[in-house]
Amino acid sequence: MAKKTALYDEHVKLKGKMVEFGGWDMPVQYSGLADEHETCRTKVGLFDVSHMGEVRVRGRDSLAFLNRLVTNNVEKIQDSQAQYTVMCFEEGGCVDDLIIHRMGPEDFFICVNASNTEKDYEWIKNHSPKGVSVENVSPEYTQIAIQGRHAQPILQKFTDTPLADIKYYWFRQGRVLDKEAIIARTGYTGEDGFEIYVPWHSGPAIWSALMDEGQKHGIKPCGLGARDTLRTEMKYPLYGHEIEKDLNPLEAGLGWVVKLDKPGFIGKKALVALKESGLRRSLVGLRSLGKAIPRQGYVVETAGTPVGVVTSGTLSPCLKYGIAIAYVDRNLNAIGTKLDVVVREQRVPHEIVETPFYKRPY
């Protein structure tokens, strides 16, 4: 049985089409994927992302512990600052990607992928030293993302926290509709906006308030479908597509969150060795030069020889052509390189282009 978020009844009221994702019953779309995508890009969209997991790590040695656990340098962030990072296996593959929020010097709030929540929690817990507490606090939080250029004025109606003061990848602990909330200027769409973590049962009231206040800004609820096409246009990685156990962050283009110059962390040895022996593939952005749409798993070829594979592909609702994120041989990763994607035994010409595919105009 798939789990239901606190907002399940809201989705049903809004005629969301429910599907199972990562063990959760989630809305894949409401008014239509293209419409929701467009609304988020031009106005503002509201997303239930309560399926995402949250793990709280606290205690005197929690900072040093996390810094041994993840690839980014957690010492670089201050109180109320968030950091995107990867957590690796010893072999260098990805356990998951995460956002770490530093609530205080000895208190960290970590957002993880829905389908990885249990695995991540076990992994963190099993590596934690004495004196560090690790809690899976996922059941306590409803997470709502409000994304798009009108996000700030809508959310501001319900909080005293001055949102204009929160910079990208910073957050505040405040109140929304008088409920305790973590308000982070983060997101998975490429738009300005916020992800808020509020008490589980306050979810429906806050969701409805944001929907009502958002009406004059043209807000629409957005499902997982739009969430996926929005992130694909930004080339944001998704676990199970661009990163997973057998894929390492360096080849996934996440070298910017892998600090090989910091003291030992899990996976460092393997990643250093990989870098020294030379990376073999690159994660690139492809645009279709034909009409066919590239999809996950399709083979990338040059002159009939396989040189890669598509990890995510869709018709870009904004650009109106097919786009793909793909691993290709490293010597073929230059912008402008022409490659074929094999679509049902037909070779469809594609070109490596700059990413993100979409850049917001404000």
Partner: protein, 129 residues
């Protein structure tokens, strides 16, 4: 949702409309187009291709999903709808008319007997819910 009388239906949610000279016109049902969402790409076979019953003859794609098209009958493709490859949204807006996909010359007239009529298909769809 509408399932017109006079059309025949499959469990894969295709419809077939018998015409003159043992030909049938084939498309996807209202139920199928609604489940898919906005259709953004349609791929159809070459004219002249011989199809077996239940053989994949093309795809319809929404932004997120690819769905195979299965031929309700065996026969030879004698026409394809070029309007729908140019404007895939016709599958949504006019599933039984402008959104038709292919026309097939039947290999065997009796093949139609195994398809469902509108009434049977309606209860088949209701049972899926």
């Amino acid at each position: 949702m509408e399932f017109p009388n006079g059309l025949l239906y499959t469990k894969d949610h295709e419809w077939a409309q018998p015409g003159a000279d043992d030909t049938v016109t084939i498309g996807i049902t209202d139920h199928a187009q609604e489940a898919l969402g906005e259709v953004v790409y349609v791929e159809l076979p070459k004219i002249g291709r011989e199809l077996k019953e239940h053989e994949t003859f093309g795809v319809v794609e929404s932004i997120k999903a690819v769905s195979d098209l299965f031929s309700p009958v065996a026969g030879k493709v004698i026409d394809t709808n070029s309007a729908v490859t140019g404007e895939p949204g016709l599958v949504n807006s006019s599933a039984y008319k402008d959104g038709w996909l292919i026309r097939v010359k039947l290999a065997n007239k009796d093949a139609l007997k195994s398809l469902m009529d509108a009434q049977k298909y309606t209860s088949f769809v209701q049972d899926l819910k």
